[in-house]
Amino acid sequence: MRGALAGSAVVHGGLTLALFVLHPSHDVLVPGPDVVEVALVDPTPAPPQPVAKASPEPAPPVEDRGVRIEKPRPAPPRAKPTPPPPTPAPPVRTAEPPARVVLAYAPVAGGLQGEVAVDQSNFEFAYYLQQVRSLIARNWAPPAGVPTGLKVTVYFKVSRDGSLSSPRVETSSGNPYFDEAASRAVIVTNHLPPLPLGYVGADLGVHFGFEYTGP
């Protein structure tokens, strides 16, 4: 009996280990069969212009016409690991994995681009992600001398009143100065708009990607 128990533990432990080892990337843990992609058509940033007296024309047309929500697309087939046999031991994320809402953004002034994603699959408020993008990008300044192509993701939570908590570097760029600049942009922003009424969660987890495309 004891031997059978030990054997079972070894088998389960081995399967669990194999599960983690076989995971090629984070994406498998958080697959996206129901990903709602939100593409932002971003403006080419116009240089700031002084206000001229004799300028009856309105400001140049703004191309930031917002966010286009595309219908959920079927995810490409993925190689899934063999599902483990029923076991009480490992807390593996299995059925109904959370999908992500993703807002990609083109380079804004300062050579910043990336994407903003949220944990909840039922978050349908594209405007909110656009505001998060604008407010945080405004507070970002590139550290001097960092190479282009660096990417860092900062994760934080937004509570219903818009206050921002527990920011942390989720995926490091490998460059501490670049990571620091990204964290600073989030920390300095401090407060975001209140969450929309139609979103029922107590808070919203945001993954904010910073990618440096050069000055």
Partner: protein, 424 residues
């Protein structure tokens, strides 16, 4: 070796302002350009209740759409204008406008678009005589919902109206409505400044008959009280952010110097002490520093000092002949004017003087004053012939004129926000 080290250090020091300027420009660029305005669509409010609601709701539609446009946060399409749809909006703004006798109930509803999920719902009630303020509060709440900071549609602007040889103190809503005189003195009023709670206005007046004195008035009661009537000049008074002191210019000791007084005008403390003229004080939002104008270097220049008068430094060497400093509510910028061949331009820079950038030019533009959210500057300009009040949203668009009924308007001061944004 030491020479090389010194040279390397000099090079390093020389490169610091360049780096700082480059980074600063980046941040300004992200803010500037109007590119970040959110497209929204205002739907006509649904009239309900008494007959007459139809007419008043149409006026309400326009007040609300103007407020949202003036916020500099939104690009507003008016749903009731044919072809005014513009781009696909991010949200739709609407609601019900119910008139019951002398009472109005505005039920505001903001929806996501195209999903039409609710973003914000709020009810506003008030007397029909104050119908505009319901809409201003709704607009401020919408700005809050989309930016995390309330708007400034409910604020007011104090200013000076010149009629013949008289100059009186006036107040109006920040959209230019309800302009009315506060003083009727047959005298000269100048440079108004709001108390931090928005209940009082400090101003300079010649009403005492012995030259310029500092007076204070409540816009509701319209009875002024003398704050400082010392010999010589008593001018350009401003409240400290905590309201517990006043900075002003007095010349009781011979020439114009900056003093600090208590709010009733007592206990003067002299903050500047030299043979030059020191005037136009303005507190930083923390109250720890004061920007002011001094001609100690030959021409008038904006300087900054600690609130006790120590640590005086010139603000900027990039721009010549500067005056009228105004510290932004968030403390990150100082606006000022700089003389040109034809008058003055308006500039902004960081409190350390770096990043100076011209934001308003052409004709003559004076007396810049920040809105309490730091998104706008109100100023005096002669750009259409005579002195009037204009607002720039600091996003590269042309400034807009405030309607003061064709009167000569000068010296604007934007009120602080008063009370919570949502009265219930």
């Amino acid at each position: 070796m030491r020479a090389i080290r010194t040279a390397a250090f000099a090079l390093l020091v020389a490169s610091i302002p360049t780096l700082a300027a480059a980074q600063g420009n980046v941040r300004l660029d992200v803010r500037a350009g109007g590119a970040n305005r959110l497209a929204i669509r205002c739907l006509a409010l649904t009239p309900a209740g008494d007959r007459g609601a139809d007419t008043s709701s149409v006026k309400a539609d326009e007040v609300l759409a103007n407020d949202l446009e003036n916020s500099a946060v939104f690009e507003v399409a008016r749903g009731w204008v044919a072809g005014g749809g513009g781009a696909d909006p991010q949200a739709e703004i609407g609601g019900t406008w119910k008139v019951s006798g002398a009472q109005i109930t505005l039920s505001g509803e903001v929806h996501d678009w195209p999903g039409r999920k609710p973003i914000f719902v709020q009810e506003y009630r008030g007397a029909s005589s104050e119908w505009r303020s319901l809409l201003h509060h709704y607009a401020d709440d919408i700005v809050m919902q989309f930016t995390g900071e309330p708007g400034v549609a409910s604020t007011r602007i104090a200013f000076i109206v010149q009629e013949g040889r008289e100059k009186n103190l006036w107040v109006m809503d920040s959209d230019g409505a309800d302009a009315h005189a506060i003083t009727h003195d047959r005298s000269i009023a100048q440079s108004p400044s709001w108390s931090p709670d928005g209940s009082l206005i400090l101003f300079t007046s010649w009403r005492g008959g012995t030259g310029p004195q500092l007076w204070v008035i409540s816009p509701q009661q319209a009875k002024p009280f003398l704050v400082s009537g010392r010999p010589g000049l008593n001018t350009s008074g401003v409240y400290a952010p905590d309201g517990r002191s006043i900075a002003c210019t007095l010349s009781q000791d011979g020439n114009a110097e900056i003093y600090r007084l208590d709010p009733r005008g007592g206990s003067p403390v002299r903050l500047t002490d030299n043979r030059a003229i020191d005037t136009s004080p303005c507190f930083s939002p923390t109250g720890q520093q004061i920007a002011f104008t001094s001609d100690r270097s030959g021409t008038p220049q904006v300087h900054v000092m600690d609130a006790d008068g120590s640590n005086v430094r010139r603000l900027t060497y990039d721009v010549n002949y500067t005056d009228s400093p105004a510290w932004s509510p968030k403390g990150d910028r100082i606006a000022f004017v700089s003389r040109t061949d034809t008058g003055f331009d308006i500039w902004i820079c960081r409190p350390d003087g770096s990043g100076a950038m011209r934001v308003v030019e052409g004709s003559s533009n004076e007396n810049p004053h920040w809105s309490p959210d730091g998104r706008h500057l109100v100023f005096t300009s002669e750009r259409d012939g005579k002195h009037a009040l204009w607002i720039t949203d600091l996003d590269g668009g042309p400034p807009r004129k405030l309607d003061t009924g064709g009167r000569v308007a000068l010296s604007p001061a934007w009120s602080p926000r008063s009370g919570p944004a949502s009265p219930q």
